[in-house]
Symmetry: C2
Amino acid sequence: MAQATVAGQAGKIRTFKSIQTEVQNINKVALSVDCVIFGFDENKLKVLLIRSDLKNFEGQWSLLGDLVLPDEGLDTAAYRILKQRTGLNDVFLEQVQTFGDVHRHPASRVVTVAYCSLINIQHHKLNILDNELHWHDVGSVNEMAFDHKKIFDATYLQLQKRVREHPLGFSLLPNKFSLRELQNLYEAILDVKLDRRNFRKKFFAMDLLIDVGEIETDVPHRPGKLYRFDYQKYEGSTRKWSGIAF
Amino acid sequence: MAQATVAGQAGKIRTFKSIQTEVQNINKVALSVDCVIFGFDENKLKVLLIRSDLKNFEGQWSLLGDLVLPDEGLDTAAYRILKQRTGLNDVFLEQVQTFGDVHRHPASRVVTVAYCSLINIQHHKLNILDNELHWHDVGSVNEMAFDHKKIFDATYLQLQKRVREHPLGFSLLPNKFSLRELQNLYEAILDVKLDRRNFRKKFFAMDLLIDVGEIETDVPHRPGKLYRFDYQKYEGSTRKWSGIAF
DNA sequence: AATTTAAAGTGTAATTTATACACAATAATT
DNA sequence: AATTATTGTGTATAAATTACACTTTAAATT
């Protein structure tokens, strides 16, 4: 946090009151939160975007964001946006990076905090059509409003990194999933092909998948067993996850 | 970035002017930058702190920070603080995380962006004594003003992680260093003991150290060879650094 | 009922990487 | 000349990663 001094004027002891005056008089900025909301559907990694409501970005897509309210923390603001737009709470949410280029917003100075969130797209399927919302394939995200492409790129890169270090991916899947679905997910996120036998070996070796005793239905071939992730065991383990590192 | 709407009012096309009015009328926050400045001296990892100039934190230590100026980017603000306080430019600097709890500052809402910076303490040795600045051992950082302990902890953890993935550590060393110094640095940052032979093997295998053809002086024993880090080769390599992963 | 289809499920050998560990060489100091 | 403290070096073992192919199963088709 600041010394609450303007550049180069340290050294004096301040009181609350003097600080308050100082802070009121000096520059403030508008602060927003932008959520990069990922989903997984039809073996593709998707991102939820909205058509920009700003005239000079007409037709362009942008992230889901809003200004942070006066008595609202950053994480809280991100949760609010997520809840509003997807109807979901209890999702994975993580701060990524803050973007504060002076002219990133055409109308005034707006600094934005980017969040990465992962949702289970099956639980969603809600108010998509009526609104200007759309799930885009991450591979086909091009031009975006503001500096949102830059924010998206940074967030996606961080997701690729995080998902190798921590078991985040399960947030994108149904509670029960087959190993095939799990592998498809990793292949979609990391944009690589993985060896099936080695992939299974690695996940079984972690011993964090619970066989739920069911199998896939409605597949036109031998159905796979269904598993769920053992969050409890993972939370309780001191060593946590040693990383995927494919 | 925000849709520049207050919660739940999406859907209308806005013009610059309407946005501008809206942004002016709604909440703004004071924005600051806080630098966690690390140095390495006497085989200890150090952090540069300043005595708080705020009355109700009298005597407590705080990070080096300041409010972000109206026409200043975030990185620029962090560089400014670093330059002011250490006289150094051309240092390692990386954004870490943004802290925005509503009541983190006692006087008013101030959101702060934390930066991690690594400096070569030999190049410094400047205006430390005259000011209220002091280099603290990272192991002995306790209570701090504001939420600065939390910020410090998060930044130090990130440093420990980053230093295994990227060759940042060299920013903390003189241009020419012995392998002993390099190992001491890693041991200090990661707070572990490392095997000397395996450490050397690993670094030589990377082939990013250049033997400068000199040896240590003023050591009361066999002097070690001096090396420098091959930044050029590192920048040019596509594969980059595969991680230390001790 | 028999055949086809598509993916599930499984193991091993080769390679690479990480770890544990000890002694001779050197420069400075006494 | 002897002592001191650290440099510099190699090998054997263990662990992790990679590459790779065939049989089993359920559903769909003939």
